[in-house]
């Protein structure tokens, strides 16, 4: 029965529109919602590959709701961080991820929690998808003791299990990630490591050194270039002799993916993970995406691009809107249900922000702690010779 229905729905689908399947009839319904639908997704350009990821993705109602909630949480969290930064409650560097949510959520959907991931400084979204809570993330941004790194790291240095940050030095995270992949292979655990970097970092020498070694040693590594078109204030055309980032791995197979479509990202990631885990070595993905904010909070983001461009992306390609439209037009969810999720997310963010602004800062006695791991307590030189400080592991 199910097979027949699928055949019928395939026939009825007609021309490939972005919002995918027109009609799917389900045998069992719950509250009149469609339990799952199949969507057409954009074709990926490939490099040194016979074929790319599938052109269709199946989305279940549960998955859709989860992706929606996660993307919305990241969106709201970043906007709240913007607010707190402007109130000077968050200081220093703050690189916001709004606009790129489909990347973090799609990647996480394509790998397992037991796989590994490392990224650069635009890391709040990944810290969340990799298991950090909004509370701990926001409290880290505000530098409080309840922060995920106890207030010692800040925006760019957040870690969770199988998530290696949050790295401040452009490009450095790529060899680190390949090292994690080496450990995966060495320990024989059938895990892989996702190494993210931006279009700005893509020109770094150490990344090419890493491509070489990862390929030579067949490390289970997915290199992912999040191409949001601008490295700080420099557009890709002004920074790179070749903007085909998915080809820059040369001998490493690559694909170019629509990074605004969470399903496209998910399918590509699954494809890449399959490649890695079958022992074929590394693979490279370029995600075409966009950030609404400037490079960081000190960059208004309009001196090197037009407001019209930002508006156009927001209205035509917003990842959350794309998912929402798909789900609504296929009767997978109701407007009210999504609104309810929005309200819950807003509340979660508010609570987290409240915590992040009221939690005390780490105590001064802990200033010197965590210099070394597994070490007996030791003395640390203070600001003047009379100040004797102590460090505990």
């Amino acid at each position: 029965m199910r097979k027949m229905l699928t055949i019928i729905s395939n026939v009825l689908r007609g021309s490939a529109s972005r919002n995918g399947a027109r009609l799917v009839v389900s045998a069992r319904t719950y509250a009149d919602f469609t339990p799952q639908a199949s969507f057409d997704i954009k074709n990926c350009d490939v490099h040194k590959l016979e074929e790319g990821p599938p052109l269709q993705a199946v989305l279940t109602r549960e998955e859709g709701l989860q992706y929606y909630r996660t993307m919305q949480t990241i969106r709201r969290m970043e906007l709240k961080a913007d607010q707190l930064y402007k109130q000077k409650i968050i200081r220093g560097f703050c690189h916001l991820y709004d606009g790129q949510e489909a990347c973090a959520v799609g990647i996480e959907a394509g790998i397992k929690r037991s796989d590994h991931l490392i990224t650069a400084y635009r890391a709040h979204g990944y810290t969340y998808t990799r298991g950090g809570t909004v509370r701990e993330i926001m409290a880290e941004l505000t530098g409080r003791r309840g922060g995920i790194a106890k207030g010692k790291g800040g925006s760019m240095h957040m870690y969770t299990k199988h998530f290696y940050g949050g790295n401040g030095i452009v490009g450095a995270q790529v060899p680190l990630g390949a090292g994690v992949a080496l450990a995966c292979k060495y320990l024989g655990k059938n895990e892989l490591c996702v190494c993210l970097y931006g279009d700005g970092a893509a020109n770094q020498g150490q990344i090419f050194e890493t491509y070489n070694m990862a390929s030579l040693w067949k490390l289970p590594c997915i290199f992912i270039c999040e191409n949001n078109q601008y490295g700080m204030g420099t557009s890709v055309e002004r920074a790179a002799a070749s903007t085909d980032y998915y080809k820059r791995g040369d001998f490493i197979p690559g694909l170019r993916v629509d990074g605004m479509d969470v399903l496209c990202v998910r399918e590509a990631t699954k494809f890449a993970a399959e490649h890695c885990k079958s022992g074929k070595g590394p693979i490279l993905m370029e995600l075409l995406t966009y950030r609404y904010h400037g490079h960081s909070m000190s960059d208004p983001g309009v001196s090197y691009r037009t407001r019209e461009e930002i508006q156009e992306v927001r209205s035509k390609s917003d990842p959350i809107t794309l998912l929402k439209d798909r789900m609504l037009s296929n009767n997978m969810v109701s407007v009210e249900e999504l609104k309810e999720i929005d309200v819950e997310v807003r509340k979660e963010i508010e609570d987290a922000a409240q915590f992040a602004t009221t939690d005390p800062e780490p105590p001064l006695e802990e200033l010197c702690n965590h210099i070394f791991y597994n070490e007996p307590p030791m003395k640390v030189r203070g600001i003047s010779p009379w100040i004797k400080l102590k460090s505990v592991s």
Binding site: H116, I118, G147, I148, A149, K150, G151, K152, G153, H157, Y159, T160, Y164, G165, N167, G168, I169, A172, V174, P175, L176, G177, A178, G179, V180, A181, L182, A183, C184, Y186, L187, C193, G205, Q206, E209, T210, N212, M213, L216, W217, N369, H370, I371, F372, Y373, N374, E375, M378, V380, P385, S393
Partner: protein
Amino acid sequence: MAYLRSILRSGKNAVPAVLRREFHRTLPAAVQQVTVRDAIKEALDEELERDERVFLLGEEVALFEGAYKVTRGLWKKYGDKRIIDTPITEIGFTGIAVGAAMAGLRPVVEYMSFNFSMQSVDHIINSAAKTYYMSGGLQPVSIVFRGPNGAAPGVAAQHAQCFAAWYGHVPGLKVVSPWSAEDAKGLLKSAIRDDNPVVFLENEIMYSVPFEMSEESQSKDFLIPIGKAKIERKGNHVTLVSHSHVVSRCMDAAAVLAKDGIECEVINLRTIRPMDMEAIETSVMKTKHLITVEGGWPQFGVGGEILARIMEGPGFSYLNAPAVRVTGVDIPMPYAKHLEENTLPQIKDIVFSVKKTLNV
């Protein structure tokens, strides 16, 4: 006897010298003569055997058996998985090693020379040293960076710099600088077993020098604690503090001065960071005179740090003369032999400085 020891330590390979000169006396069966190179290799071999997570990587460490033959035989014994030849891409393979350490392995990275580590400094400092702190204690990094540091005969400016002060500057790193074979073995084993990033500064001049290794040091669990200096020679008149190959010079100078009735106390630092100031201060309180001796450049060097701490600590009020530093000349290392010799502290320089300090 002391003179004979000093020949051994100053690099002339005179293994049987002791036996030849005093043929009526044989070495106790348990004591062995081991070169620094072999002591390092023994340490690596034992730690590779002990812990599956330990592995070596670097240029030419596997098939070539090490640029200085330190890793000879290890690849044949342990294979490709654990002894990894890397391409000539320092920043890349250092990053990979640090990442592997973050994921739970225990890499030992070899630099063919610490001069090449300058390319990797970002990973040693920003990815390794600072991470445990920045993560609030979530992410330790257990890794050792080792290789020859400082002067080597005839290698000239780009291959002869001493990095003790550079790495010694950084919180989150441990920096070790062994002198003897026992130092090398015990400290390298401790470094590999340490759960933190350790910079292990060897020296090419010392690789071929044999030392007596006590029976205790031949055990597979022989460890020397990081952060403790050793008094190589006791004396009452002046304290000489040194590290790495320059300790040999100090011992030679002490032998020469002993003929004039001046007894030097020679302290082998063994660890640059954390430095054993207690040992230095205790000695200074006894001898009341301090000279630091190093091969590195004078500005912002190891000696500078010791002198500053003596000024700030209890030792200062015991000094009968200003503490001074004997260092390498403040220039890039020249090539011509005569120039090179005059760029590093010689026995005569140490003797001269001691006599100046003691005003004799």
